[in-house]
Symmetry: C2
């Protein structure tokens, strides 16, 4: 690859290096990979004077590259595009592990025009660098179209390679964090599912309560962090059933008054399991109160209205919906529509009427 | 604070900026904070030409600063030193959130000589910068004693502030990762403890098996990652008891033949709970085989010798030790020494003889 010698004087070079350092300050300031990459690429475009930029990650199983972030092109279209390894400029960089500077893509044999067609972006020039982590290539970063119809040069290449190293590390760290987070969620999910499965009639119950709860949460426009808290609370809402004897939990028939009275301890038992966990302690009220009723006639504390934690109110709806639409030893499952109407009927008595409205809207969207 | 104007020419300045970028490449390349900080500080000493360097983190509850890393001083002595907020140069920087350049510490009123006394390091000059994450101060970084009896200057300060931002982010990311890891461990621990507690005679059993297993693992010099795998396997070794009915699990007396036969399913149930969890699947053999015997007479598969996974062989010893030294409804707990002798007696039959040796050594150290 032929490069023009750098025309920048020393002062300009310092300025650009300082900008690059500035960019690196933004790096890793968050483990949220979307925000992070957007920030880095914004800085890269700034330093490199580029019109657009993207980061691709390699999926080693499918042997393709997919967009992690695409700035300056229509993001939604880009998200679903997959580029086979070795295909196009980006695929070439991924396969060879070498940077590539293409001044005019229309004159390059490797050029793969499918992405432009799908995103309706017109690429003129590309500077693409491989992303390495501990000697392993994990993706490709690129900047597109130097502003003012100029060409990317040797300085740009050097800087982008330096920035590429940092992007690689940030992507890797965020992946490690995500993996650990998935490990946490799937572990508690697996154990709770084993508890559900002790009673053949509640198999899969917690997973469905999570699903319904998140449907309501999404409709209520909870942000990412709140959705996560709701999800963890919903996964764990019945964890206290570990403390309920099998002869009650799996009884093939209706519970006696005393058995039911004991069964009512499960929210308390659940909260007790969660409380010693520093990071989950704040979620324990959601578990403790998921059997409260909006009118104050629930248990364990007879809380009323908004004094019942929001997520507990959401889980209460989801929990009841799943209970009604599942078979029980002493009755058959209710039809979905009948169950929905029953929830609507109980707005204001058993359930938070505002949340029931949100639930009805959410449900309307799924059917 | 008075600073000499920078005497560096442009070329030198570029060189140093490039070194700094180089340093930033090392940043975040690992979420292991010890390795990471050591790498960054090494680069910082290189760029700043310093004899030593440290990073301190603030403990907001105790209102003190403690060493995260100390290079060039006697690390072990440093590790246990705590500096009250506001005390010394470092404490001043932490309290005021401003960088500080002290050319001669003996002439500075803020100088706190206790650390030097404890570490036997002689500090002449200090350049210390606050570490900020999203506007919140989380610690302090310092370089000590510019080489060749020279003084830290304005350029050093600028660069170290820039590097300080990156250190802050790296420390923060590593903390977030550590928190999530603790959340994962404490969650599965809490749920498993609830399962143990179903039978009053096994309350705390899993926690003790973890403790004994790690004692053996440490003596066997397993590395950090292996110790972690052993810990998770040990926490989960009895998770399959979720699938055993209470009338067997909590029976106040010896189990019948049929009951015992059913009880023997718990390693299989445990492995089945773990297997769907992508990141834990590889640990499921440790759970499945923790009741195998070295002579092949164990269950479920009658595996023999080294074909039993290492961690399962370790857990087998730890599990038996705890069972013998705990009361059971039908017998009293054995004395510790008698239990140890019993394990030694079963070397080669029930247990891996090499691991029994290691266990005896480990145990010798704790008593």
């Amino acid at each position: 690859m032929k490069l023009k010698p750098s025309k920048l004087n020393l002062k300009d070079r310092i300025k650009r290096l300082e900008k690059l350092i500035d960019a690196s300050l933004a790096l890793s300031s968050t483990l949220n990979i979307d925000d992070l990459l957007n920030l880095i690429l914004q800085k890269a475009e700034d330093v490199m004077e580029a019109e657009a930029s993207s980061v691709f990650k390699i999926d080693p199983e499918k042997n393709v590259l997919y967009f992690l972030t695409a700035r300056g092109v229509k993001g939604k279209e880009a998200k679903n595009i997959q580029i086979p390894m070795g295909k196009g400029i980006v695929g070439w960089v991924a396969e060879h592990g070498k940077p590539l500077l293409v001044a005019d893509v229309t004159k390059d044999k490797r050029w793969f025009s499918v992405v432009d067609k799908k995103t309706k972006f017109i690429t003129r020039s590309i500077l693409a660098v491989p992303l390495f982590v501990k000697g392993r290539i994990i993706g490709v970063a690129e900047v597109l179209n130097k502003r003012g119809n100029r060409q990317f040069n040797k300085d740009d290449l050097e800087m982008f390679m330096s920035l590429g190293n940092q992007i690689a590390i940030a992507v890797e760290n965020a992946s490690l964090y995500k993996e650990l987070d998935e490990l946490f969620l799937s572990s508690i999910r697996a154990i709770v599912e084993a508890v559900d499965a002790k009673d053949p009639y509640t198999r899969g119950h917690s997973a469905r309560v999570v699903e319904f709860s998140l449907l309501i949460g999404k409709q209520a426009r909870l942000n990412k962090k709140r959705m996560k808290d709701l999800e963890v609370s919903a996964i764990l809402h019945d964890v206290g059933k570990i403390g309920i004897p099998d002869r009650i939990l799996g009884k093939p028939g209706k519970l006696t008054f005393d058995e039911f009275a004991y069964m009512k301890n499960h929210p308390k038992f659940g909260a007790e399991i969660i409380e010693p966990i520093a990071e989950l302690k704040r979620l324990s009220p959601n578990i403790l109160h998921h059997h409260e009723r909006f009118d104050g006639n629930g248990y364990p504390d007879g809380l009323k209205g908004d004094s019942i934690p929001l997520y507990a109110r959401i889980i209460a709806i989801a929990d009841t919906l799943d209970a009604m639409t599942s078979d029980r030893p002493y009755r058959q499952r209710m039809e979905n529509n009948a169950a929905i109407l029953e929830i609507e009927r109980c707005a204001g008595s058993q359930f938070d009427p505002q949340l029931v409205k949100i639930f009805m809207n959410a449900y309307g969207k799924t059917t």
